[in-house]
């Protein structure tokens, strides 16, 4: 991933497409690199906060990737981590402020986790591993790809936790409308608690590895 992208290559060359699609599966930040787990456990009890969290990470990661990539030749190596942190932190504060102004309810649900995007390893990892050595366009695609890879796992986990834990999908009462409660069906309160997110992520990893043998370690 670190080789220089040659000039005048098409915008969506095979190499660039890989930047978007690899993080969705084979290089997924959550299921393969096991980064950003904290937030995946914390905000996935319902779909709505999970979606807003994914969107926030998408904005922060893509913007930080592009900014760092634009500045990459001016950033003094000795303070590069500080520069990266300052840029991530400022973007996160901006996102937090915008959420407080225009999506107040969701921002209350996410509470500290928006602020904790700063410490999300995925973002620092991408900046350090990719944006510091690549041009803005690939960095942009890399940001989108990794954020989507993070996002779809979050949304999948949230879907099952909300459906089984609260009996709703995006606050729409599915189970009630199906009339399952009349047959004695009960929501599983355990699904709402963080440990179940870990188990659901584990199941996703299991399914992924059983389908893609290359991900399985030797020993």
């Amino acid at each position: 991933m670190s080789e220089e992208v040659k000039q005048r290559e098409p915008l969506f060359s095979p190499k660039n497409k890989k930047l978007i699609f690899n993080p969705l599966s084979r290089e997924n930040p959550i299921t393969v690199q096991v980064l950003g787990i904290c937030s995946a456990l914390a905000v996935t009890a319902k779909l709505e906060p999970a979606f807003v969290m994914s969107l926030s990470v998408l904005v922060v990661l893509t913007a930080a990737n592009v900014i760092i990539s634009l500045l990459r030749n001016t950033i003094p190596t000795r303070i590069r981590i500080i520069v990266q942190l300052v840029i991530i932190a400022s973007l996160v504060i901006l996102v937090d402020q915008v959420l407080k102004a225009f999506a107040y309810d969701v921002s209350k649900q996410l509470s500290v986790f928006v602020g904790l995007i700063i410490t999300n390893c995925i973002i620092m990892g991408r900046l350090e591993a990719f944006a510091m050595g690549n041009k803005p366009w690939p960095a942009f695609l890399d940001g989108i790809g990794n954020a989507l890879g993070y996002g779809w796992i979050l949304l999948t986990v949230a879907f099952f936790r909300e459906l089984l834990g609260s009996g709703t999908i995006w606050n729409y009462p599915v189970m009630e409308n199906l009339g399952l409660y009349e047959f004695g069906y009960k929501n599983n309160g355990f699904m709402i608690l963080p440990p179940m997110a870990l188990i659901v992520v584990g199941i996703i990893i299991w399914i992924q590895r059983s389908r893609d043998k290359e991900l399985v370690e030797e020993n």
Partner: protein, 253 residues
């Protein structure tokens, strides 16, 4: 390689640019954020008298149902009266009073230090011909502030409804205070006994079954596993309501 000089200049310029961007964003977004906080306060007040307001209609419903706002001093006298969008007395709108600083003033006075006279807000609501008195609450939970509103019926001792909110109580334990199941226990409880002696409503660990039968009207069941938060709710209700005791006694006579 970059020289030290370059690094210092780079860092300083970066910090200044970032500070400028963030402060202008904060200034621009502030009115929107304040409006959200205000709307939430209104919705909470209305919720304590069982009026579920949508965001868009919160202001209209507030003006329709809340007929009077009072600011009371500890002697039970109104220092400000705000009615029909006009001041009948005083010039501080009770809605704008920050309960946190008023409680702090009172703590200072109680500790024998100097402080201004605190003013406590009271909202008078008229719904379907009935009058309700809404008292805002604020206290300290286990991890951070907790707050709420308590609505009293016309006799000023029977609880009509409550709402509680919290900043960061433990999910599943202390955080249960913001669920309807916990809050509806308060309905019909009384904060005074028959002789109008202040009793508050206590949140009782082990359940109200442990109280003497004639006291059970002044208690509700605590949250299992959330003892500290439950005690905090007890304290908050007692500490806040006692400020209104004088006023209520005057009204009842």
């Amino acid at each position: 390689m970059f020289s030290n000089r370059y690094i210092f200049i780079y860092a300083s310029v970066m910090v200044i640019v970032v500070a400028a961007i963030l402060s202008s964003a904060a200034t621009y977004l502030k009115p929107f954020q304040e409006k959200n906080v205000r709307t939430e306060k209104i919705m909470d007040i209305l919720k304590s008298v069982n009026i579920e307001a949508e965001k868009a209609e919160a202001d209209t419903l507030y003006n329709k149902y809340i007929v009077e706002e009072l600011a009371l001093n500890t002697d039970g006298e109104a220092t400000s009266i705000y009615k029909d969008q006009n001041f009948e007395k005083g010039d501080i709108r009770p809605f704008e009073i920050k309960l946190k600083s008023e409680i702090k003033k009172k703590e200072f006075l109680d500790a024998g230090k100097e402080a201004e006279e605190p003013n406590f807000p009271l909202y008078i609501c008229n719904k379907d011909g009935e009058t309700y008195y809404i008292i805002p609450l604020r206290g300290k939970g286990l991890w951070g502030p907790i707050w709420g509103n308590i609505a009293l019926k016309q006799d000023m001792k029977t609880v009509y409804g409550v709402t509680f909110g919290h900043k960061g109580e433990t999910p599943g334990l202390g955080a249960e205070i913001s669920t309807t199941d916990f809050q509806k226990q308060f309905v019909g409880k009384t904060i005074f006994d028959d002789n109008y002696k202040f009793t508050s409503v206590k949140v009782v660990k082990g359940g109200i079954g442990t109280m003497p039968a004639n006291q059970q009207i002044h208690g509700v069941d605590a949250v299992s596993g959330g003892t500290i938060t439950s005690d905090a709710v007890s304290d908050m209700i007692a500490d806040c309501l006692i400020n209104y005791e004088e006023y209520i006694k005057k009204q009842i006579k």
